[in-house]
Every structure is written in structure tokens, then in C-alpha cells.
């Protein structure tokens, strides 16, 4: 099995890119791959544990705790998250806060890098 790193920068609400990313990560995990998910820019809001499941808005963040339990590594750009008012204490348990060099390192070193969705 391989190591897949997915990086995304898309908005949580206003685009379906994060919805796609989370479902892709879930599928890859189910197939036995190791999956890293890098969140930067607006996508850092995905880890906010207080997101409500309104049916008018996509809410893929609610899937994260189960996926983290299955082995998904979720890594957040700390500066991007802090700029949006999502410090670690507001984040889902099991999420790592760090800087951009992590994404470059594991994105380039893994078997596949998928950079999905601009802002």
C-alpha cells in the first residue's frame, strides 16, 4: 500500500472541494493506504469542532474524528488557522498544528501528492 498526501486550500463553505477531499481520503484509507491531509488557507476551518450540520451547507468536518481514529493524519497550517480564529483548543482532537514545511516534505516524499482545490 502507498502513502498519499492530499493538500487543499479550499473554503469549507462555498465550495465542494473539501467535501470531495474528505471522501477521497476516506476511500483511500478504506483501501489500506496511509493518508496525510494538509489544510492551509481557508481550508483550515475544516477542523473547527463547533461546525453545525445544517443541511444547506456541506459539513465534511463531522467525518474527521472517525477518519482520524482510522489513521488519517490531519495537519493544519498553524498561522492560517490562527488568522481565522481556529486555535488548537477549538479543533477536533487528534489534529496536528504545524508549518508549511511539513506539507512540502511529506508531499514530495510520499508515493502520491494530490493538490486539490484552490481558494
Amino acid at each position: 500500500m502507498g502513502i498519499l498526501t492530499i493538500g487543499t486550500f479550499a473554503s469549507l463553505v462555498g465550495s465542494m472541494n473539501l467535501d470531495f477531499v474528505v471522501k477521497l481520503a476516506a476511500t483511500a484509507l478504506d483501501k489500506g493506504h496511509e493518508v496525510n491531509l494538509w489544510l492551509s488557507g481557508n481550508s483550515t476551518v475544516l477542523v473547527n469542532k463547533d461546525q453545525k450540520e445544517f443541511k444547506d451547507y456541506s459539513h465534511p468536518g463531522v467525518m474527521l474524528p472517525e477518519l482520524i481514529d482510522k489513521g488519517l493524519k490531519v495537519v493544519v497550517c498553524e498561522a492560517c488557522a490562527m488568522a481565522r480564529g481556529v486555535p488548537k483548543e477549538k479543533a477536533i482532537d487528534g489534529v496536528t498544528y504545524t508549518s508549511m514545511d511539513w506539507y512540502l516534505a511529506y508531499g514530495a516524499k510520499g508515493d502520491r501528492l494530490l493538490h486539490i482545490g484552490r481558494e
Binding site: 508549511m100 514545511d101 512540502l104 516534505a105 511529506y106 514530495a108 516524499k109 493538490h115 484552490r118
Partner: protein, 133 residues
């Protein structure tokens, strides 16, 4: 050949965060050795509307109190991260080389390279990974 990432910037400055994210990520290349046993080399290439990021004398600090894309570009040049801009796209906008960001007066040893798109395509082929912004 070592690991390398090409950052391809297609979007104009300030309309979105995309160009700034590309530049700040590219600047993190030398720090990758903190995580893995080798440095990931980064290169930034501007094409299409993205070439507008390379204009000098940006006034974002005056107008919005935020660091300019120009300052991020200077940081890249000062860190010896190669920066390429598409010659054909500059010509479409009527932008001459003397209007581009430069950091040599701050001590940078490299400048923005104006290159034909074919050279950027070659860099895309060479890179371990491509990130489009």
C-alpha cells in the same frame, strides 16, 4: 535527482489568497530537512494573470495594512528560490522587465527570470510535484 516542487501561479494578486499561499509555501523548502532526510527544492513560475504578481512598487501595506506579494517575492529571491515568469504572458500585458520586482539592492544574488513558456513546461516535467495556485 532530488525532490523538487514547482509552484505554478496563475492567479492575480489580492483577488484571492492563492498567490500568497504559493509564495509562503515555496519559502518553506529549505526547512523540509526538519522532517525528512533531504531538502525539497522549490521553484516558482508565474503564468497567465499570475504574472501581475511580479509588478514592483505594490502598495498593499498603505491600503490594506498587509504584507505585499512583492515583499514575499523579495524574500524568495533573498533565499535563492528560483522565480520564473512567462515571457509571452508579460508581453500580452505590455509589462517590460524593468517593472518587475527586484531584490538585488537588498543583497539578493538572483533575479526574476523572464523565460519562454517552453522553459516553464520543461520545469513542470522535471519536478517531483506540481502545485497550481
Amino acid at each position: 535527482m532530488g525532490l523538487s516542487i514547482l509552484f505554478l501561479v496563475q492567479t492575480p494578486p489580492y483577488k484571492s489568497e492563492n498567490p500568497k499561499l504559493a509564495l509562503t509555501h515555496a519559502l518553506a523548502g529549505p526547512l523540509t530537512e526538519l522532517h525528512i532526510d533531504e531538502e525539497v527544492k522549490t521553484t516558482v513560475a508565474f503564468v497567465g494573470d499570475g504574472v501581475l504578481n511580479c509588478l514592483k512598487d505594490q502598495k498593499s501595506m498603505d491600503h490594506w495594512d498587509i504584507t505585499s506579494t512583492e515583499q514575499h517575492l523579495r524574500n524568495l529571491l533573498l533565499s535563492d528560490v528560483p522565480v520564473m515568469v512567462c515571457k509571452e504572458d508579460l508581453e500580452k500585458f505590455g509589462i517590460s522587465k524593468d517593472r518587475l520586482v527586484d531584490a538585488t539592492e537588498m543583497g539578493a544574488e538572483i533575479s526574476i527570470e523572464v523565460v519562454p513558456f517552453s522553459e516553464i513546461q520543461a520545469k513542470i516535467d522535471e519536478a517531483t510535484a506540481l502545485m497550481c495556485f
